[in-house]
């Protein structure tokens, strides 16, 4: 049985929201209260980050979560100077292009390894899978030397090239293409579609949930990526948000409310993505988890 079929009941059970039953006995009420308090504690750092980004300097150091006079001056100040605006745009461009690339190539490779019979198939699958064992940190030095040699330092391509395909994504997509019946593909062949058309118009629409999960993970991973962009960029205009925030925070005279504003700018987009695509994201986490 493929992983996709295997996890479907689990994911459905996980996402199923039963009719809200109110806790009935004391034990359940206590459990609910403790879980609620724990959950509130979990989001406190995010809440304080956003609250502080809306505060005036004189109230930054008090413990109040709701600012006395909330305002967005910090955002206009931080964005006005242009740097955060650029970093945001850089991060967005890099995360979007990398995501599109992964969705296309990981699924193409996953599809080929799953649905085609050809000599060398198993070896290529094992070779790609084996790259999961190699930590990124081992590759950054050779990547840096390569980038230096070919003039990729401090360019979008330089930031993006290591992540354009991932073994994880390929494996995930291969598992999902197992759920596409071979009969569909045969039927499309008889209808005279070529293999590229079959992949794109027949197989891809059938694995949309997996594509969505992959896209979200790749986007999040690249949006928050730090060590490689830190190494490969050196001019301020080429920084991504994490690298920019790190250098911004490190400037001696920066006020904490402005750092919190920068942190909020780099966190809010992913929080919005989560609130919109919660279902796909939780499903994606479960897929990733049961793969192991």
């Amino acid at each position: 049985m493929s992983i996709a079929e295997e996890i479907r009941p689990t994911t459905d059970a996980l996402l199923k929201t039963d009719a809200p039953k109110k806790p009935t006995n004391m034990g359940q009420i206590l459990r609910w209260m403790l879980l609620f308090l724990g959950g509130v504690a979990m989001v406190m750092p995010i809440a304080y980050m956003i609250s502080t980004s809306l505060k005036w300097p004189h109230e930054v150091y008090n413990l109040k979560l709701i600012p006395d006079e909330p305002h967005i001056e910090n955002y206009t100040y931080v964005l006005e100077d242009g740097r955060f605006y650029w970093w945001f745009v850089n991060s967005m461009i890099i995360a979007v292009i990398t995501t599109v690339c992964n969705v296309i190539f990981d699924s193409l490779v996953g599809y080929t390894l799953c649905k085609f019979r050809f000599p060398g198939r198993y070896i290529i699958f094992i070779a790609i899978l084996s790259t999961l064992m190699i930590p990124t940190e081992m590759l950054v030095i050779p990547w840096y030397l390569m980038s230096q040699q070919f003039g990729w330092l401090d360019t979008y391509w330089g930031i993006m090239f290591p992540g354009l395909m991932t073994a994880f994504g390929t494996f995930l997509m291969k598992q999902f293409f197992e759920t596409v019946p071979d009969d569909f593909i045969e039927a499309a062949r008889i209808d005279g579609l070529n293999e590229l058309q079959i992949w794109w118009t027949v197989a891809m629409p059938l694995v949309k949930p997996a594509l969505a999960a992959l896209a979200i993970f790749v986007f999040l991973g690249n949006w928050t990526a730090f060590i490689w962009p830190l190494i490969v960029t050196n001019s301020v205009e080429m920084y991504t948000l994490p690298v920019g925030l790190s250098s911004f925070g490190d400037e001696a005279d920066v006020a904490w409310e402005l750092i919190m504003t920068g942190a909020a700018i780099s966190t809010i987009p992913t929080l919005i993505v989560f609130l919109i695509f919660q279902r796909y994201i939780i499903q994606g986490v479960v897929m990733a988890g049961l793969k192991g």
């Binding site: 689990t10 039953k21 050779p142 948000l241 925030l245 790190s246 904490w256 780099s266 986490v285």
Partner: protein, 295 residues
């Protein structure tokens, strides 16, 4: 010519056409650099001068370096504190969340939200929390109830756990979701049989739930261990004024690699450290799989 091929031959042509670019990618961006990193680890090279072959000198130097052993120890302290703590907390949350139906989705969202944040952004938020009075939130809170200040990031003893806390915090939501999926996958009939036999819920937990969750536990242990052994973003951003400080007390292996390669430009020495990191990850994962699968 293509027309004359059999269906099977056509498939082979298409397969290799689809794989051409990815094979090139994996070869040039994954396999070649892996070999290159191992090769450089046997050389002496500062980026400007010549590359000279030095055999195992980098490794000898590394094993004789007291800073390396300090860093090696720190890396394992991150692992040995982070993995069990996050495993226990996330299991307790998942176990109870699984039994809660009222506003279940909302509670789950609260626990999962930190996973969606950026490590760098949150490292700066926590760094602010840890500042001494009158700046830091934690010390201000302590001061307001009359407790003396706590030297979170200043103390060589407490800096490492302080840096670790946001890393544990951000990963909890992921582990809670995985645990809940594991709990849901246990057939209801097991619990019903136990209930008919009148077994206490504590016994059910130890005799049914935990043994059946073993695959989930193995996954979480291996996955989170790899994460803690590779910790970098949090450490770097919480100690930018003195990376890995105070007195190297928070420095993990990845930060040592970063500094050796990109501050000291000692590429051969840094490459040797990355090879050691690779071996550490490999050995730790294999040991964990062996122990957890067998027992």
């Amino acid at each position: 010519m293509y027309r004359n091929l059999t269906i099977r031959q056509k498939q082979i042509v298409w397969a290799w056409a689809f794989l051409a670019i990815p094979i090139l990618f994996y070869g040039v961006i994954r396999f070649y650099p892996t070999g290159n990193a191992i090769l450089i680890s046997f050389q002496e090279w500062n980026l400007l001068g010549d590359r000279t072959w030095t055999g195992f000198d980098n490794y000898h130097k590394l094993f004789a370096d007291p800073v390396f052993w300090k860093v090696f120890k720190n890396t394992f302290v991150y692992l040995l504190l982070g993995t069990p703590i996050s495993l226990v907390i996330s299991f307790v949350i998942a176990y109870h969340l699984d039994k809660t139906r009222f506003m279940h989705g909302f509670l789950r969202m609260l626990y999962f939200l930190p996973f969606m944040t950026s490590a760098v952004a949150m490292a700066w938020v926590w760094r602010w929390f840890y500042q001494p009075v009158p700046v830091g939130l934690f010390n201000n809170a302590l001061a307001s109830i009359g407790i003396p200040q706590f030297p979170f990031l200043q103390s060589t003893t407490w800096a490492l756990p302080s840096v670790l806390a946001p890393a544990v915090w951000a990963g909890l939501g992921f582990q809670v979701i995985i645990f809940m999926a594991g709990l849901r996958a246990i057939p209801r009939s097991y619990y019903e049989a136990a209930r008919i036999d009148g077994v206490s819920s504590w016994t059910v937990l130890w005799e049914i739930t935990l043994p059946l969750l073993k695959p989930t536990i193995v996954f979480i242990v291996v996955f989170s261990s790899i994460g803690f052994l590779r910790i970098f973003d949090h450490v770097f951003n919480m100690t930018t004024n003195n990376p890995g400080g105070p007195l190297n007390s928070t420095k993990p292996l990845v930060l040592m690699i970063y500094e050796t390669a990109f501050s000291a430009f000692d590429m051969g020495y840094a490459a040797a450290q990355t090879v050691v990191l690779f071996l550490v990850l490999l050995v730790v994962s294999l040991i964990q799989l062996r122990i957890l699968r067998d027992s």
